[in-house]
Subunit: 743 residues, 2 copies
């Protein structure tokens, strides 16, 4: 291949590095724009006895105030219809939306918020999912039993939103026959995506009743659907224009500020801009689910895993949102990438009085892998085996099945394990502080939602791609590479930019590692159809069979006689006079089959026993990526994923006091910064994947998954203490070391 | 049909009437925008000996100055490459572009223009085409013989840019055998489109080297091609975003201010807005060609037309532009919609020292019909025949041929004549002033350029159309009607809005009566393919044969058992999970066959012999339109065309003194206003046309064509004087009456 597989800089990079890209808050329309702000609940759980907006309305400069009364009385939610955009009768978390104000400037809007009087009757609240499951816990949705729920949402009771159980084989018998049984509990806290750009929107509502929003979103089509549902509008009256996006990581899929901004713009008759502060974003975003996990594993003396009984409790926050799906998917992936014949998995999705948790890169992945791979490490040590050998002995192979019986193809678990061990090599010399190594393996099922895309040949022989997928991590460049490859043109001759919901064909979301897999497949189909049309036009002109033609170097020519050809510029012009008309195609792909992407990470750390500081000396990430369309972009994805994973491993957690987040800022909420970052040694395993475009697998999610387990295992290897609760802070290490020396 | 054929208001009308539509000068981008202005030549013909911009550059607030030196040295033009965007060695008309300035405000830019010093050496100029053809006339393009010219541009010599001759039969013998010969000369002056919105643009040039222009254009794809050619950029680096447009009428097809604005934005590193004043627009626009016409016609005593010898001299202005095409097309249509066996037509396209003339609604139509139909009236009077009878005797019929031998189908000339006579009825009672009636018939060959369009089904069952055709006169509504008809949905459920060149598939121009004919055909194909996909998905769900299904009322159901069905909303959702993926299609149409659209107009006027004022008492327009998709829109088109035609008949002309326009403002250049407007009695002849979507013919051009001839004939009928030079002003009538009474 000429272009696919080349390390290429991103096609849009110059605009970004020169500051010309238009991000959410940069979006503008002609004329006056009002500033909108949300009034958020200060209580984790309270009844609303009344809202009085009169004083705020009288404030000079206030142009509109909206509350639940201004919106249709709609309950929404993909799996359970448990959400109302503005709180009606109750607030259910600190940050719940109560009202919104549009004013001539942000200061006036903020002042108006203080003049809105809300009578609350405080109610007992619960922010821990295990506590919310207990009898007598405060009930978050009293009317829950009446809510509409989609098929497959089972086991609803009290604050339990869903319960999925998967049973394979006979765990009781297997445990009875096991040589040794390990039982451990683990906890991973709520963590936030901390994208650079907080949620923001510019909304316009025009005379035809059409709402247009400019918004940094990962998912313009689902966002359009959500807005249409919340505001009860047809999709033809909602236009979502995605701006450039300052990070998403799953946190920019759901509707957040958009319905409020539209409602304000409609009421005020003037466009409204809303930009969340970092604190508002922390409190009202859609962070990663906290997980409580119990793993019971039975093994034979030789290291064969015979049974696992797993209980997962996921805190979904005040609404189900994607929590049901993530909880159910977690049940399938919980046993890890191993052959284990006997399984019993219970996965609970539980309401709590916090913001709704939803997708964060590799949903449930880091939490489950932290638990599962920590325990695998503990088992190996207890059995006196090399953890690598234990993993190799039990790792999934081609045609193995998931716990639900789905067959798996393109399984390269062992190859990632062996490559990781090879790269790590022999232990390094000792240093000032105790050193240790850790390893963890994970799998991710990369499927693909349905997508469609267009490709057209311009009259000058250049090519444009029409897609609705937002470019978060280099997807545009890879889509351009695929198209350039098929049509035999240079990358410079391909234009790709995201169209909005009015103009783009229906596109997948930029999440779930599928921007390239799903959209790339649609683009590939469309490019091949455009290639067919080019051959048709050229075939007539050259009086040669279409099948005898070759496309290369921006020309079409007869194979073997390159001088008998036409340029694509000529073809582009000819097509307009030819019996077929302009050369263009839009093609769709259905949902794509899931293939497991395997990844193994390993690290060497040094732990300062006095301070508890963990220094990462080496970090190796080996990932099975199918075909790497743009290896530069793939490596970047993996490096970025590792960094986020290391933040979750070592420092990140949303902390709460009575439902109120105590660290909603980037000083107290500690993400992994470039100063903390180790060099990541990335190695790609490339075997073309049957269901991806030109063999590509999705690559975005897997790299964020192993780091917490890797670090936990490396820390244990270094200093002999096992941390079962993320993050692995210096404080926890110091306490554990103290407990170890004074048991 | 449920929706096609209904009189419906325009889908976008609410935005327009509430002032929310974004027109060219309303376009905005975030951040500072500079103001650009063009330095125009004050001379009709002069050599440029030097340009000094130093003083202007030093003016505070000036950010960029560009001249020919800043642009690639490119000569361009569709038929003859005789244009340079900025004048190099010579200026060739008053208004020729010499330089452009971008400054912080319009006043500073204007002041800077005055500081640019240009050394001109004035040259003799010529603004009349017949004079420009004379030996010894000043040569406008010295290097003309070396310029690239497209195939078919023949007879180049001196200032003659092209000469086309068409000969059929033997005119000399036919004249020898004729009973009577009529020989007359006619003149139609240059007239301007006088759209409400002068030319304007907002241009941005970004770090990736991409130029984006927001511009009210009728022809975004040709404009992109022109910009790419002038600035030597690939089409992927030029994005044309069409704004709403305040009228075009053919005057917004060519590049005008856009390349200057891009060059300024590139040099200044800041977006630039340019808005022409009315005076600048008058002097630098692309008005209708002035025509000098000599018609020699031989007839038999019974009224049979046996021969016509026609000489047409078209003044194209300083460049060929579309003048060659219009001159060549005029040759084909010059004999009028009659069977005339012997023809000799010479059509000359001639350079003059004026702005380039180009397309104006029905190019060459009003001029030719004024000459041809005035003479038909004169012949009838001379032979003592009713002009209606003379026309009926000679009118074209089905399968007749054009002078170049193209066969004509769907010919309804006689039906329009008879219908017009029927509607006019018997003469009205005499009034205070002499009354008279006139009639004229015209034909227009409506073809269609290649186009492509997309249609998609949203997940909620609503429908979006993806088109790049600009909506000048209700095309969007008709495209929505066609789609709603095919898919069985209501008009409210169809969204149609013009996408820009990056996102729209290649689209025809909104001119030449083909926005609906060509784009409608592409939309119809795409809608039918979407219908097929809907049937496919519904067929699986309903377990019924796709062919047994019916689409109506936003549902798909089994014919005869409407309760066995699914809603389109369900189909839209299902498709995303179905093996076919999202429902979307993009389809292309090639160039479409030309069908003659026939129209006959008649008027009754009263002429005040003292003042020369012509009062229009009645005006009847009968037009063959194929299927009227939206009769309200069709009638609106016809009424508007008649008004513009009446302006050309009675008051409009660009007047010059030494190449300088003497009436470049709407006080001195008199368009027909709503105070002058008669009620127009519109009657549609509907016979579905084979080459149009659902039988539609283009309707935009024909109604502007007959009015000058109709008024000339009616004035003659009233007061017995024949005006052979447009416009038929009160002054000309008074002079003619005086000459008649004192010959």
């Amino acid at each position: 291949m000429r272009i696919v597989g080349k390390e290429l800089p991103r096609v849009e990079i110059l605009e970004k590095v020169t500051g010309q890209s238009v991000f959410g808050a940069d979006a503008s329309v002609a004329g006056r724009i009002l500033h909108g702000k949300l009034l958020l609940s200060p209580h984790a759980h309270a009844r609303i006895k009344g809202i009085r907006t009169e004083r705020a309305e009288k404030l000079t400069g206030v142009k509109a105030i909206v509350t639940a009364a201004d919106l249709p009385d709609v309950q929404y939610g993909r799996f359970v219809r448990d959400e109302q955009y503005f709180a009606h009768d109750k607030v259910r978390y600190v940050g719940d939306r109560v009202a919104a104000v549009a004013a001539v400037d942000a200061e006036t809007a903020a002042q108006a918020l203080r003049l809105i009087e809300v009578d609350y009757e405080e109610l007992p609240s619960v922010t821990s999912a295990p506590e919310a499951m207990e009898p007598g816990a405060p009930l978050i949705h009293e009317g829950f039993a009446e809510y509409f729920a989609a098929d497959g949402v089972e086991g609803r009771a009290g604050n339990i939103c869903s319960h999925r159980q998967i049973v394979c084989g006979d765990v009781d018998r297997a445990f009875a026959e096991a040589d040794q049984i390990f039982e451990d509990t683990f906890h991973a806290p709520m963590v936030h995506q901390t994208y650079l750009e907080p949620h923001c929107v510019l909304a316009r509502f025009d005379a035809t009743g059409k709402a247009t929003v400019w918004v940094p979103t990962q998912a313009q089509f689902p966002l359009r659907a959500a807005i249409a549902q919340i505001l009860h509008m047809p999709m033809t009256k909602v236009r979502v224009i995605p701006t450039e996006i300052g990070g998403g990581f799953g946190g920019k899929i759901l509707a957040t500020v958009e319905p409020a901004a539209i409602a304000l713009a409609r009421k005020a008759g003037t466009p409204v801009r809303m930009v969340m502060t970092r604190g508002e974003d922390f409190q009202t975003g859609n962070p990663r689910h906290p997980f409580h996990m119990r793993y019971k594993t039975g093994v034979k003396r030789d290291g064969t895993l015979v049974a696992r009984e797993i209980t997962l409790v996921l805190g979904t926050g005040y609404s189900a949102s994607s929590g049901v799906m993530i909880s159910q998917g977690a049940a399938v992936r919980a046993p890890g990438p191993y052959r284990i014949p006997n399984l019993k998995i219970d996965s609970y999705c539980v309401y709590t009085n916090t913001a709704t948790c939803a997708a964060y890169r590799g949903p449930a992945g880091p939490q489950l892998t932290f638990a599962s791979e920590s325990q695998i490490d503990m088992i190996a040590r207890e059995l006196g085996m090399d953890p690598l050998e234990l993993r190799l002995k039990n790792a999934m192979e081609e045609n193995d099945q998931t716990p639900t019986g789905a067959g798996l193809q393109d399984v390269y678990a062992k190859e990632t394990l062996r490559k990781t061990a090879e790269v790590m090599g022999p232990p390094s010399a000792p240093g000032a502080h105790p050193r240790g190594r850790g390893m963890a393996m994970a799998h991710w099922l990369v499927g693909g939602m349905a997508s469609s895309a267009g490709v057209k040949l311009n009259e000058d022989g250049t090519v444009a791609i029409l897609t609705g997928v937002v470019d978060l991590s280099g997807a545009s460049t890879s889509l351009a590479q695929i198209t350039a490859e098929v049509l035999g043109v240079s990358l410079d001759d391909v234009h790709v930019r995201t169209a909005d919901t009015d103009f783009a064909p229906h596109s997948t979301i930029s999440a779930g590692s599928q921007a390239l897999k799903s959209m790339g497949s649609a683009v590939l189909l469309a490019a091949r159809e455009v290639e067919r049309q080019i051959r048709e036009v050229a075939s007539d002109r050259l009086e040669a069979d279409a099948g005898d033609l070759e496309l290369d170097d921006n020309r079409v020519f007869v194979k073997g006689t390159p001088e008998r050809g036409v340029t694509l510029r000529e073809v582009g012009h000819l097509a307009l006079e030819h019996r077929r008309g302009p050369i263009v195609s839009t093609q769709s792909v259905a949902q794509l089959q899931s293939h497991p992407a395997m990844t193994t990470h390993a690290a060497e750390v040094a732990v300062d026993p006095d301070t508890g500081h963990v220094e990462i000396l080496r970090y190796v990430a080996v990932q099975d990526v199918g075909t790497a369309i743009n290896p530069l972009s793939v490596r970047g994805q993996i490096e970025g994923g590792v960094m986020q994973g290391l933040g979750q491993a070592l420092s990140e957690a949303c902390t709460f006091d009575q439902g109120k987040m105590t660290n909603p800022n980037l000083l107290d909420y500690k993400i992994f910064s470039s100063l903390d970052a180790p060099e990541v040694e990335v190695h790609l395993i490339e075997h073309p994947c049957a269901s991806g475009p030109l063999g590509a697998k999705g690559v975005g999610e897997p790299p964020i998954i192993p780091p917490p387990a890797v670090i936990a295992n490396a820390v244990h290897d270094a200093i002999g203490v096992r941390i079962r609760e993320l993050p692995i802070t210096a404080e926890k290490i110091c306490i554990a070391l103290k407990q170890k020396s004074n048991p």
